[in-house]
């Protein structure tokens, strides 16, 4: 799935990263606990989270995550956006809640780390 398809599926908006919308994502994880995200490496993953702080971007950086989605209409501040620009990680915002966001992406074929 391309990042731009993901934006459509989630009725989302692109906060940063218009240049990266053609990136492919193959896996997804949804969590507000960054250590849980760090526990399992997924190739070409999107991270969905309700947490909004710089450590979300840093976690994504360490994990080579392709895209970050902030759920429940949360919006990152400028320092977070600047960090994401520097690390070249697109930021998406959706008004949908976590469960619904994950459900929609699952419906469209995205899977978790174990592939089920």
């Amino acid at each position: 799935m391309k990042v731009k398809e993901l934006v459509e599926i989630l009725d989302g908006s692109v906060i940063f990263g218009e240049d990266y919308l053609d990136r492919d994502v193959f896996k997804a994880c949804g969590s507000d606990m960054m250590s849980d995200v760090l526990a399992f490496v997924k190739e070409q993953a999107v991270l969905l989270t309700g947490l909004v702080n710089p450590q979300v971007v840093r976690t994504a950086e360490m994990m080579d995550i392709q895209c970050i989605v902030f759920v429940r209409g949360k919006n990152p501040d400028i320092s977070i956006i600047n960090l994401a620009e520097d690390r070249e990680i697109p930021l998406i915002s959706t008004n949908l809640e976590m469960f619904t966001s994950c459900g929609r992406l699952y419906e469209h074929g995205l899977r978790g780390g174990s592939g089920v």
Partner: protein, 141 residues
């Protein structure tokens, strides 16, 4: 790569915003040096968890990295409170992190287990009231 590349970082305590800055630089350096992507990621994740610990549990410290073609060694040294029971601290889910740290997405008690998982060697040297030194090694196989 002939010679050892050495990196040094000062990590300030209680600066949650900047926590992970050193880990990011280490990651980018390893990438530039041409190390395999999964090795780079393993080192980055382990050092990041340890750097976060340094900030949330020990009021900062220093990180020294030795990069050889066959092994990456990272030493994280702090002057924090020390770890009273290492075996307990290594358990998944064990955490003394306060609620405000949990609100920031850490404090799930997965840091030390994650560090162990992503490294080939992990040694914790800790003295109560003096500090903790964590030494990590990842081999380039």
């Amino acid at each position: 790569m002939q010679d050892t590349v050495k990196l040094h970082f000062d990590v300030s305590g209680n600066d949650f915003t900047c926590a992970g800055e050193a880990s990011g630089k280490i990651k980018r350096t390893l990438k530039q040096l041409g190390f395999d992507i999964s090795l780079v990621r393993n080192v980055a994740i382990a050092v990041y968890e340890a750097e976060i610990n340094m900030v949330i549990h020990a009021d900062g410290g220093v990180i020294d990295v030795d990069i050889d073609s066959d092994c990456i060694t990272v030493v994280l040294k702090d002057r924090g409170p020390g770890i009273p029971d290492i075996e307990l601290a290594m358990k998944e889910g064990y955490s003394t992190a306060p609620e405000n740290v949990r609100m920031l997405g850490f404090g799930a008690g997965m840091g030390l287990p994650n560090i162990k998982k992503y490294t080939d060697e992990m040694n914790i040297d800790t003295v109560i009231g003096v500090g903790t030194t964590i030494t990590l090694k990842v081999y380039n196989k």
